[in-house]
């Protein structure tokens, strides 16, 4: 496998040493494509409802999506699923192309989107090789009775700006604010929390005993489009083929 060497922190934003580096492990073998993560994410992050129109206009706003691929010819068809979300790349292609620093890397390994700065050039979305960025083509609207369901911790994004998975930064902030260390698994992003088969695991890779740190050393590990040298923060675990056992 090709491994590319890059600077450890190509875009230093502060001088403080990082206390956390949030990572995720996605075990493809466990994913059943139930899409609970997709719905949990939409509820947690005040994502506008993806109506049929959004799908026909190809303007679906999903911070996490399950891609489905079919393999083989009938009757020997296999469905393959891969959950895809912002990879929080440590060498993110979306960051240097933004003219106004609306997206940058913070010192906890998060690729942060600053809604207030965004002018909507959509260059970051073009640059993203994971197709993880969403653009608000329309002003988001919710039915009247949904008003009290919106999450007060998350900004509602107006039209004309980019948004993407934040690793539920609001939950990270709540859990880590004022604390020196956070127990592994004390909190999780909405998608991880909702995953019934534990296919998604979230944690701090700097903590060597965390579940994420251990799982990401699993022999099945790989990173999506690793050859591009984007240094993603999400490690995928390869599917175990039933007939290969």
């Amino acid at each position: 496998m090709t491994t590319l060497q890059f600077q450890e922190n190509p875009t230093p934003t502060t001088q403080r040493p990082p206390r956390h580096h949030w990572n995720m492990v996605v075990d493809i073998d466990r994913c059943t494509s139930c899409r609970a993560c997709v719905i949990a994410c939409e509820a947690e992050n005040n994502i506008p409802i993806n109506t049929e129109d959004r799908f026909t206009q190809q303007r679906v706003n999903q911070w996490i999506r399950i891609e489905r691929y079919w393999e083989g010819e009938f009757p020997n068809v296999k469905a393959r699923y891969i959950p895809m979300l912002c990879q929080h790349c440590d060498n993110a292609p979306c960051e240097p192309v933004c003219p106004v620093y609306a997206t940058y890397h913070n010192n906890e390994g998060l690729n942060v989107q600053v809604y207030n700065r965004c002018v909507g050039t959509r260059y970051c979305a073009n640059a993203c090789p994971y197709h993880a960025r969403n653009f608000n083509y329309w002003e988001p609207v919710w039915p009247e009775d949904f008003r009290n369901y919106l999450n007060p911790d998350v900004t509602i994004r107006s039209r004309g700006i980019m948004e993407k998975c934040t690793f539920c930064v609001q939950r990270i902030r709540r859990a880590t604010r004022g604390r020196q260390d956070v127990a592994d698994g004390a909190f999780a992003p909405a998608c991880v929390q909702a995953c019934p088969s534990d296919a998604l695991v979230f944690g701090d890779i700097l903590d060597e005993n965390s579940k994420v740190a251990k799982l990401s050393k699993n022999e099945r590990h790989y990173m999506v489009r690793e050859v591009l040298g984007t240094l993603p923060s999400i490690t995928y675990l390869k599917k175990v083929e039933a007939d290969a056992l």
Binding site: P96, V100, C118, A125, R159
Partner: protein, 456 residues
């Protein structure tokens, strides 16, 4: 052999300033039609601002579409200004004289139009200014200089400033000519613009130096502007955009479309402004010969783009080329683009008869620019449609009516601005023509006196 016909100074003044002092009916008619179209364009712009980019045909994989294509197209058209006026001035090509100002003016107006496009295309245009002019001093946030979108406005504003200066410097002697003939408030305005021009040898010398100096200084901009625009694509990680040959490819493509646009403009000027005494077959012949060289150079880089991509034989590269070359409607658009901007023009330009026919040259130059618009579209959209290795996210793109109106409106806008300019200032520099007349010498060939050119 280039002969200059003799036209007297008085005739030059009379014919070139005709439209300035007398408003012809055709001008009123065309300007009102174009004004109407510009009004439609501006109201569509307003609608887009009001309703948001949902009105366009853009979607999730295809984030950039017709408006960016149009931006690239107009920046490309603007390259004619430098090509014609700076390079031809420095290389002392005599035949440049009637077309320098038209080319430079078109540069200025097409750049202004091009600058509108990113504004329309941004999600929140009302916040766009701190992209270019950092006002967030308090927060210590400056534009990110690593982003090609910061290089873009820098390059284009530099180009716009220098071309405007260029146009203005060349206009000063002509302002004075109009000032001397105008009356009333017009005299005051033209007088102020002429900046006390008396036509003294000292002033002529300074004006000449300024022209040469600006030509020389503008040359780096000529190479840089479209290179930088091409880096919008080259720097990103999109297969099909991430091409190292883009900078020269875009520059020479810009010259091809720009000089063709000058050709269109010259023929229209000759027809509308009745400039038969100034724009001749020799001029469009020279432009045609220049264009053959440019088109072949462009064609070489165009093939390099394909060859480099296919040589790698990587699936990410071949998927978008498959889309461009083999999948309708892109395959049709590709064929049209290739035939329009290379096959038809270069083969026809080889014939002297075609090069010297205004009708042929007019339609060919239009074809070239249709082709070049398609070229930019084909460069921008298919790689986005098949951008990702994840085939699940492949997309399609179809421009909406709003985008079509805006693209059409930009043509009306540039034509409108050019006609307005042509009403108030001469589109052919009077002093250049007169200077050209001074350089005519008659040479005795056998028993006949033949007008011949001497170099500056």
């Amino acid at each position: 052999m280039y002969y200059r016909r003799t036209v007297s100074d008085a005739q030059i003044n009379r014919e070139l300033l005709d439209v300035v002092f007398r408003t012809p009916v055709w001008w009123v008619v065309i300007v009102s039609i174009l004004g109407l179209l510009v009004a439609v364009f501006m109201s569509t712009f307003g609608l887009l601002m009001n309703q948001g980019l949902g009105l366009t045909g853009l979607n999730r994989p295809v984030f950039w579409g017709f408006l960016i294509t149009n931006f690239i197209f107009w920046v490309g058209i603007s390259h004619a200004g430098v090509m014609i006026s700076a390079i031809l001035r420095l290389s002392q090509a005599e035949w440049r004289r009637p077309m320098v100002r038209a080319a430079e003016t078109m540069t200025v107006f097409s750049l202004m139009t091009a600058l509108l496009m990113p504004v329309m295309h941004a999600g929140r245009p009302w916040r766009i200014f701190y992209w270019v002019f950092p006002y967030d001093f308090a927060r210590g946030i400056w534009p990110d200089v690593r982003s090609p979108l910061v290089w873009d406005p820098t390059a284009i504003i530099t180009y716009l400033t220098s071309s405007s200066l260029f146009v203005f410097t060349a206009l000063i002697p002509d302002f004075a000519v109009i000032r001397d003939r105008a009356t009333g408030w017009r005299k005051a305005i033209y007088g102020a613009l002429a900046m006390n021009w008396r036509g003294t040898p000292q002033q002529w010398k300074l004006q000449g130096i300024a022209g040469i100096l600006l030509s020389a200084l503008i040359l780096p901009v000529f190479v840089s502007v479209h290179s930088i625009v091409s880096w919008d694509f080259g720097v990103s990680l999109v297969p099909g955009w991430h091409v190292s040959v883009f900078a020269p490819y875009f520059v020479i493509g810009a010259v091809l479309s720009g000089v063709s646009a000058v050709l269109t403009l010259m023929i229209l000027m000759r027809f509308l402004f009745k400039l038969q005494n100034y724009i001749w077959e020799e001029h469009i012949d020279a432009l045609g010969r220049l264009l053959i060289v440019v088109a072949i150079g462009w064609h070489f880089l165009f093939w390099l783009d394909i060859v480099f991509a296919l040589w790698t034989a990587e699936s990410v590269e071949t998927t978008y080329w498959q889309l461009r070359l083999l999948t309708p409607p892109w395959s049709w658009l590709f064929l049209l683009f290739y035939v329009f901007s290379f096959v038809i023009p270069t083969s026809l330009w080889l014939f002297r008869k075609v090069r010297r026919s205004f009708v042929w040259m007019f339609w060919i130059s239009i074809l070239v620019n249709i082709g070049m618009f398609l070229e930019r579209l084909i460069i921008i959209v298919p790689p986005l449609m098949n951008k990702d290795a994840f085939t699940f996210q492949f997309g399609t793109y179809r421009p909406s009516i709003v985008e079509l109106i805006i693209v059409g409106g930009t043509f009306a806008l540039v034509a409108f601005l050019l006609l307005m300019f042509g009403k108030f200032f001469p589109l052919i520099p009077l002093w250049e023509e007169k200077e050209g007349q001074r350089l005519v010498e008659t040479v005795k060939v056998g028993n006949v006196e033949v007008p011949a050119m001497i170099k500056e």
